[in-house]
């Protein structure tokens, strides 16, 4: 039924395919939800590391389930690639009826695949990263809940269910940003993220109301291009703008991006999963899902989206140039890359948006996890000015991080190049102005990412490390030796971290002594074996295998993900074909020949190369003073954040004070007055209820007399 309406644009209404998999879609979000419930009940009992393994298994189960559904969709005919499973009616209210239903179509399954896939890897990584944390199981509880909410957002077959997931991921984001809530700054960052997101949520909510009011339904399968016919364009425009406001909030676009850099206060796996790979892309998902709205709204709406996107991309890239915190750079980079995705949505390159979303999920998760590994290895040091030369100490981290760097900088054949290039090509197709801004951003991206890599992994070590580098002998270890290194080093570093994390005075030697004694039983002999090497645990060290295995897997993905949608021939547009049933006619068509495409690609490569060379000149060769580039105004994010605060602290505060007064006196006055009236009236009336039967009988007779008297008076007059 709904399937046919979804596929109404196809020529021959093919018969509906059914399979046992149809009834299994709900299992995808169910697995992490069960993991969440299990951890809620028995998380503390399970403890470390079982709680982490359970959560990882739950997420892995979701990934496996997604693969099953994906295989089913692949096996089907092109027009039949949609499964709509309805579990039960959730909100029956007159004409308004919302089901708990799941829609597994190419778009949602493509997203679910990388969410569960990257999610599983990040879960695995977190087992190592969160080692020794007091709230170890709570962290995984939140992670599972997040994955469940995110899958609900993606797979929900109506706007309200998506909104439920939307709020769910927002709540998890809040929990996880302020995971180490004892530090005031972390708690504040969480609140900031939450409040800023509320602004976007307002737009989303009102958008849902308006959609129902206009179309009488909020089901995606009913909101097709056909449904848009006969509805005033201004209405659809308004709805599109409302949803765009929602997307801006969640996906950290101008001007609501301010929460994302602060969200880096959370543990690094959270930054990787929520604030880079998945949650922040849900705005792009929403826009893609609602492509019929954008197609039917006024022309200025897509243009606005494109300009906001590309503006954000440039804006954030300039800020990223001047950041010294390793995670802040990546945070602004994320904002910038999300801007690219919005640019793609705005110019109608939905495939490009999803393509970049996927590749970005891989390489940005990789970069974040790599930075987490660095922070881990550096004992909670995040300032890049105190790093340098780390590739000797952390070879695997360095190698994988470099892969991520090449991917984001747009070096072929790494994945980031292909997706970014596709977006830029479509931007040129739409408006050369968009293209130029996008290109400058690409140059800046290459620059600041190269700067980060050079500052962190190359050059001379700028941290106080004891002993000569030769004593480490990390390089050239055999495989077994490396593993041992990792086992012991990981344990030592983590203990140092946990014992000194808050105080910030890592007494390396004492921690190391403890670490050698307390190393895991399994790693015991390794630890003994390498005891000498780790007498000085203040040095950076490579991370345990649970941390670097995800790095390796992600770096492979970051290399090859470009293969999803290679531009060479039509046959290689796998992703475009895959997404066609969802986006169909709303995808923009290129208005020029292949030759232009290649020229544009070469320009993009050149821009990336210029950016990288410039960075090398500044940060490797030292030809230019970095202070000339890292302007204070950039470091402060163009002062936008401060402007918000001063506005809210100044004129805004008066408004809030007035609203608070209004609420306390007028609104509460009405409510309390009603209550007082009711209770006062009640205590007055209760005097009539004497409980004496004869009093009631008397009342009855008075009533009878009055009734007769009324009739008499009516006749007499």
């Amino acid at each position: 039924m709904s399937l046919t309406s979804l596929l109404a644009f196809t020529e021959a209404p093919a018969e509906i395919v059914t399979s046992p998999v149809d009834d299994l879609v709900f299992l995808i979000p169910l697995f992490p939800l069960l993991g969440f419930v299990a951890l809620l009940i028995g998380g503390r009992k399970l403890g470390e590391p079982m709680a982490g393994w359970l959560a990882t298994a739950a997420c892995g189960g979701a990934f496996a389930m997604t693969l099953v559904v994906f295989a089913e969709l692949v096996s089907r005919d092109y027009t039949q690639r949609s499964i709509n499973q309805t579990l039960f009616e959730w909100v029956p209210a007159g004409e308004f009826s919302v089901d708990i239903g799941f829609l597994a179509d190419p778009l949602s399954i493509a997203m679910a695949l990388f969410i569960t896939g990257v999610g599983t890897l990040i879960h695995l990584y977190s087992i190592g990263y969160m080692h020794g944390d007091v709230n170890f199981s709570k962290f995984f509880l939140y992670l599972n809940l997040f994955v469940a909410a995110m899958l609900l957002l993606i797979l929900g077959d109506n706007l309200l269910l998506t909104f439920l997931g939307w709020e769910g991921v927002g709540a998890c984001s809040y929990f996880l940003i302020s995971f180490w809530f004892t530090k005031d700054a972390n708690a504040t960052a969480g609140k900031k993220a939450f409040v800023t997101n509320r602004i976007g949520d307002w737009g989303f909510m009102v958008g849902i109301f308006a959609t129902f009011f206009t179309f009488g339904t909020i089901n995606y399968v009913d909101l097709t291009d056909g449904a848009m016919e006969g509805v005033a364009q201004s209405t659809i425009t308004a709805i599109s703008v409302l949803f765009f406001i929602g997307a801006i909030g969640k996906s950290a676009q101008l001007p609501l991006y301010v929460w994302l850099p602060d969200a880096m206060a959370g543990p690094t796996p959270v930054s990787a999963l929520i604030h880079a790979a998945t949650m922040v892309t849900s705005g792009v998902y929403l826009m893609t899902r609602l492509n019929p709205f954008l197609a039917a709204s006024a022309d200025w709406v897509p243009s606005m989206i494109a300009w906001v996107g590309v503006g954000t991309a440039l804006f954030a890239a300039t800020i990223a140039v001047a950041q010294n915190d390793i995670k802040k750079v990546l945070a602004y980079s994320t904002v910038s890359q999300l801007g690219y995705m919005f640019l793609a949505v705005g110019v109608g390159a939905y495939t490009g948006a999803i393509f970049h979303m996927i590749t970005h999920a891989f390489f940005k998760a990789l970069l974040f996890l790599g930075s987490g590994s660095v922070i881990h290895g550096m004992h909670d040091e995040q300032d890049m000015r105190k790093m340098g030369g780390l590739k000797k100490f952390m070879p695997i981290t360095a190698a994988t991080f470099i892969v991520g760097w090449l991917a984001i900088a747009g070096v072929p054949p790494f994945s980031g190049f292909w997706s970014k290039d596709e977006i830029l090509v479509f931007a040129w197709n739409e408006n050369p102005g968009l293209y130029v801004v996008g290109l400058i951003t690409a140059l800046l991206t290459a620059f600041y990412m190269s700067r980060q890599v050079f500052m962190t992994f190359f050059g001379e070590p700028r941290f106080a490390h004891s002993g000569s580098e030769a004593a480490h002998g990390v390089e050239g270890h055999g495989e077994a030796g490396e593993m041992a290194e990792v086992g012991a080093g990981g344990a030592a570093g983590e203990l140092a971290e946990s014992s000194a994390g808050g105080a910030g005075t890592a007494l390396a030697t004492t921690s190391a002594a403890v670490a050698t004694m307390d190393a895991d039983p399994g790693d015991g002999d390794h630890a003994d074996h390498h005891g000498d090497d780790h007498a000085h645990a203040g040095d950076p060290h490579e991370s345990p295998w649970t941390m670097f295995v995800p790095l390796i897997v992600l770096s492979i993905a970051a290399i090859v993900a470009g293969g999803l949608n290679l531009p060479f021939t039509k046959d290689l547009h796998f992703l475009e074909h895959w997404l066609e049933p969802v986006i169909h006619e709303n995808e923009a068509k290129l208005g020029f020949k292949g030759g232009t495409k290649w020229v544009l690609a070469l320009i993009a490569i050149a821009a990336g190369a210029i950016g990288m060379m410039a960075a090398a000149a500044v940060y490797l060769k030292g030809r230019v003073d970095p202070a000339k580039i890292e302007l204070p105004v950039l470091a402060k994010g163009w002062g936008l954040d401060a402007a918000f605060s001063s506005f809210m602290g100044g004129p805004g505060r008066w408004l809030f004070a007035f609203l608070a007064w209004f609420d306390a006196n007028v609104i509460d006055g009405i409510v309390n007055g009603t209550a007082a009236l009711t209770s006062g009236g009640g205590s007055l009336l209760r005097r009539f209820q004497t409980g004496y039967l004869r009093n009631y009988a008397f009342g009855l007779s008075i009533g009878a007399i009055a009734t007769v008297a009324y009739f008499i008076s009516r006749t007499a007059l």
Binding site: Q689, G691, Y692, L693, A697, F698
Partner: protein, 101 residues
Amino acid sequence: MEITANWYLILSAVLFSIGVVGLLIRRNPLVMFMCVELMLNAVNLSFVTFSNALNDVGGQVAVFFVLVVAAAEVVVGLAVIVAIMRRRPTATADDLSVLAG
């Protein structure tokens, strides 16, 4: 002198008023019940009177129904009184005022 319908109706009114007064002044629930029966009889009497005066048998049918409902009411009412009296053998209507607001 002839007996007109008004005679019966006045008698019925007086009988009804006596029932009202009885209901209001007596405290024994059983007697109060009897007063209700008095009032019902007064109404029945006026029904029959009107039936006769207006030459319509419908009034008599109404009386029939009043009788049936009165019987049902007495059965239930007396059962309630029995249930109360079993717990409090000396209770008057005034003692049963627990529903006071």
